[in-house]
Symmetry: C2
DNA sequence: ACCTGAACACCGTTCAAGT
DNA sequence: ACCTGAACACCGTTCAAGT
């Protein structure tokens, strides 16, 4: 019950900050949940997943074990909580990306840059999203948190669909025979996800290590979108330039934040 | 020390089965290690990762804890051991794929089918490979096993490189400006890995669930390879047919094995 | 109604004692 | 030289007792 109210309260406090539909007590509880997730994140960032322990979470917080179990039904529920934080951050960046002015394919590029950026800024949270989808985490998470997760995913999915739909309408994206919006949306996700996951978590791998200096992410996208028939093709347009423009016009703040101190591989 | 001999002994027993360069004792130890990994795999397959416990591994085996710690330096070392098993299986399928007779692009398709098949046949082992690359697993694994892992990865990487090199030589693959073999090899890996990882572990996700019935994997490949400029383009050749031919001529045994009983999503 | 922390069953790892 | 299992410190989860 507590958990359910929390997620509502969190959502409300974002979408309409002035709403007073929840008591101070409920807001305080929601705040505490965010506080706990922040501490959990710090623990994981400091020493990896193995370091996330309900004992340590208790010790690092001002609350008791019982209180923490009032918020989270299990350790896995904490992970799903972190996943939802990641998705909210991702959505935030996606919304910024949607503001970029350019061709439909450039807008798609902006979404991919947002995705890449979300993974670079919070690599741990990024990996959380996949971890949270594994059956045994899913099984042990509370229904309320799973529901929140699905709603967040739907929101992202809708943004991608809309971009594709629009590109088709204005005739810049001309789908191959049999290519539905669903199929194309999945292709976008797969190429981006695959690239990020491999680059970030498999950096010790021979065939990835040798890539240093090039920009594999953009090359992958150029191939994929060319093959998808999204005009103008990369032979007719310099998407390296577009990439830089997006970086400067939309994500300069995030870039700067990254530049300070973060994993070497992905910078 | 025991661990190192084991990995050598395993390798030898594969590449030249008749070699008697190791004593019966050493072979027995190597066999026991495989036995332990088999048990570990069963534990994970039965109830997920959380179910893999050194206690349970001990209980499910005829050996004591001390003996198990003679083989594996830590729980993480067991995971890396499972990862290496997965890589060996992958290599086995890759070698079968290389036997397919067809154009260079069809041969590439055969490799991707092998990769997909390895993930479908042993989904748990597939996820193991990524898990094993995460820093905190890597850190706690024994040097010998990490070395074996790197050698296996190099072997796979070489097979892909060779295919690409050859396709360029016979002028069927005509790289875009600036596209090196490294870059293209990575693109192959990323699109395949991304597709498989999302399809297998995120099946509850809205934008993936709706894909049922289509063949997203092949669509992704067609786009990617068209964009990469690998002839003949998918507009000039029916790769759906090629896919089926590969299935029938190379992987009919694997297909049959899969057909019996396995996760619904990927069949 | 919510919070607390002792209690319990289990887990990863080690090591003195055996063979 | 290898095996054993008791022992230790730690972990996830619960719940009776408090406020």
């Amino acid at each position: 019950m507590l958990k359910f109210l929390c997620d509502i309260a969190n959502k409300e406090s974002r979408s309409c900050p002035l709403a007073q539909r929840f008591s101070k007590k409920q807001q305080a509880i929601a705040d505490r949940e965010q506080e706990l997730l922040q501490i959990a994140l710090q623990l994981v960032e400091a020493e990896g997943y193995a370091n996330l322990t309900m004992d340590k979470l208790t010790a690092a917080s001002p609350y008791s074990k019982g209180t923490i179990y009032n918020h989270f039904s299990s350790k896995e529920d904490v992970i799903t909580g972190l996943c939802n934080t990641a998705l909210r951050h991702e959505i935030h960046l996606f919304k910024k990306a949607a503001l970029f002015e350019g061709s439909s394919r450039e807008k798609a590029l902006a979404l991919h840059q947002a995705y890449l950026l979300s993974a670079k800024m919070q690599p741990i949270l990024f990996s959380c999203v996949l971890t949270a989808k594994s059956p045994w985490v899913q099984e042990k998470s509370s229904p309320a948190r799973i529901k929140a997760q699905q709603e967040l995913e739907k929101e992202i999915s809708d943004m991608v669909d809309q971009l594709l739909q629009n590109a088709i309408v204005i005739n810049e994206l001309r789908p191959k025979a049999g290519a539905t919006v669903d199929l194309m949306a999945f292709a976008h996700w797969a190429i981006s996800f695959g690239g990020i996951a491999l680059l970030s978590s498999a950096s010790e791998t021979y065939s990835i290590d040798r890539l240093q200096g090039t920009d594999p992410f953009l090359y992958n996208l150029n191939c994929m979108l060319d093959g998808m028939n999204w005009l103008p093709l990369s032979t007719d347009w310099d998407y390296g330039q577009s990439w830089l423009r997006i970086e400067q016009e939309i994500f300069s703040a995030e870039r700067q934040q990254l530049a300070t101190a973060l994993p070497e591989i992905l910078r």
